[in-house]
Symmetry: C2
């Protein structure tokens, strides 16, 4: 959270304006990232209801984590006057990110062809579940479907049990990341004069499939599905999760010398001498015996002591943090990754810092997440709407 | 895989040169994405050994999935002449992406300050596990550690069982995505004249923590850790995984009308009338009974038929694909997401297409993954090294 003012550095997207017609996770995560990089984001929300994630529990913390530094304006896009306000915004914008259901953007009169007429330079980014030319174009863009259909769930779980939902909303966040990348790539090409404007589509499903990378490579090489991981690496041992007295530890002894160091760390040199565990191949082949030997040893330690001992012997190890304990982690505290943004008249918003460290450029969390429509009047005023017109629009439910 | 030649479109990063000193997953995924977008990537690999992932099974498929469209040059960076070749490359490059162990880049004489002297315009991106100013700076940047320490594992698994490794190598891929974003943001700022060059650091751990987003919001609002998901959504029902005769299905009936449609789809209107399941609150509260009622019904169907019936009734549903079956999916086949790249004298490389669809710009998978050092001679020749000098370097093990 180093700002232009505090450092003299420039925000990479300073002066770039983004109109945001997205909700829940994928789109808002993308536009939040663009905002961190310095873009001025105007978030269009439905009159009365707003982004659906404003009502996802816990309220408002769920919403807050992905909606800082955006100005909230409410618009009824079923009303032509609401559509006109949106077009007025888009006429001056550099970027439009939208994740409406397929077909809906046409009914709003905000499809690419229409927007391009008022702003041929715009970088127009559509996030969809499956894309408009997919057999699944009518399926909703829900993370659980994307995770299930892309192969992510099939790899998550214990080998002899059911596939599981991966903890992160990966389907959403992967698509959001590709949206950011694609917008940045198009802005760069535009700045170089290679294009006038651009329409780019990010299908969540395709995006998730592209992340299979080396996991797909396993299948390409073996014709077998990548197996569910469970808690241990398939071809390295010991490399996985172990229970300690008060929690779980991840231990990654990826080489022979690390194995010896591990045995020394827990005062069990006899294990390093054990023929069954002499080479990596031996340890993988005799994993059951290896785990049976190690588990009771580790189970006698508290997490902090076990991790400290292993690290003293240069064995990579760490605690398994949950989403509460991670904020107590020494690194996370020193980096100040959990941030508080003060809001007048409301409880502070808690957010996570942008993780990347520029040297000359800066990032900035900006302003706290806004209440629904908090900037409606300001944004319409900036567009040249006089207060009387805004009152009329409000009376007619076009804004609120 | 629409190329400049086939469409007349421009690659967003055409003319941008990237020097890549990364290996395994995070960095190579980043530089592959830059290559998809049109950058000319020169991948520096250790003499004799190369990228460690060249020997990760299955060989070469693991490596192939994240290393297309890069020219491979081998260099011994412990030798001053190897370092000079790298500096010569960097003197003309737009971007440097490196993920060497903390401290090593200084020993190679390729730290930012040195590189900046020969190329003040360079965008220099360092991917680390934890960053150079972390208490964990000596821990290796291994995905399993990052997943465990960031909170990702704690959310993955069944509620009453152990945390699990998430199926995707999320720690690696998240960092790779931030590297791409950050490089693009810096290139944009450079093109606008806001900066001369840039040094940006992407710590894998911080990057993973930043993805907790709404999961962290749960903790910020409740002071409780986000629970392990298991197979069903915590606050929507029925919304999760169900076993069918020949596999698993994800069913997402997120509203009252979808619940009624689901009951109709499987010919069980009586369930829609059941008072225990009347409202979403009822269905969540009586989830055990709900699942007990639905599971035997779904278990009688084959996956394909159950999905088809549910979709006919507009209930979002899909098969749980594994990394083998996903390539047989209708959408994946139609989009041609699994690609074959022909290699002379070697088996074809199989890769996954870039998932984003530009309209005016294009992306391009480019050339197939190269063998270790395949482009050493070409790259050194481009730098002006004459064949005799290259022979000398080869004889001395500086290149191979």
């Amino acid at each position: 959270m180093r700002t232009e003012e505090s450092t003299g550095g420039r925000l990479p997207l300073s002066g770039v304006t983004v109109v945001d017609l997205t909700q829940v996770v994928a789109g808002p995560f993308a536009t939040m990232t663009l905002a961190d990089l310095g873009a001025d984001v105007v978030k269009i929300e439905a009159v009365g209801r707003g982004d659906r994630s404003r009502s996802i529990q816990p309220v408002p913390e769920y919403f807050d984590t992905i909606n800082r530094n955006k100005r909230s304006v409410t618009l009824n896009l079923k009303d032509e006057r609401g559509q006109q306000v949106a077009l007025d915004l888009l006429a001056d914008a550099d970027v439009f990110v939208e994740s409406t259901k397929p077909g809906r953007i046409d009914r709003y009169g905000l499809d690419y062809e229409t927007v391009r007429e008022v702003n041929p330079d715009i970088v127009y980014c559509t996030i969809t579940g499956f894309g408009t030319d997919s057999p699944y174009q009518d399926l909703p863009a829900w993370d659980m479907l994307i995770q299930g259909m892309s192969g992510i769930m099939s790899m998550t779980g214990e080998p002899d049990r059911t596939p599981l939902w991966s903890g992160l909303p990966s389907g959403d966040l992967i698509a959001g990341s590709y949206a950011v990348q694609s917008v940045l790539a198009a802005l760069y090409a535009r700045e170089r004069g290679d294009i006038e404007g651009e329409w780019v589509e990010v299908p969540m499903f395709d995006a998730a499939v592209s992340w299979l990378t080396s996991r797909a490579g396993y299948t390409f090489g073996t014709d077998e599905p990548f197996p569910r991981h469970g808690t241990h690496h398939p071809s390295i041992a010991p490399f996985g999760l172990f229970d300690a007295v008060d929690g779980t530890v991840v231990v990654a002894a990826g080489t022979g010398s690390l194995w010896e160091a591990l045995c020394a760390a827990v005062d069990r040199p006899d294990l390093a001498e054990d023929d069954r565990f002499a080479t990596m191949d031996d340890r993988v082949e005799n994993r059951t015996e290896l785990l049976a030997a190690l588990e009771p040893v580790f189970a006698d330690y508290e997490v902090a002591e076990l991790v400290a001992r292993l690290r003293e012997h240069d064995v990579p190890a760490g605690p398994i943090h949950d989403t509460a304990s991670v904020w107590e982690d020494e690194h996370v505290r020193e980096r100040n990754l959990r941030r508080t943004m003060e809001r007048e008249g409301r409880p502070d918003a808690e957010v996570i810092d942008h993780p990347v460290h520029f040297t000359n450029l800066v990032t900035d969390l900006g302003t706290p997440p806004e209440e629904l429509g908090e900037s409606t009047d300001d944004v319409l005023s900036d567009l040249g709407y006089d207060p009387e017109t805004v009152d009329d629009l409000r009376r007619d439910g076009v804004v609120d």
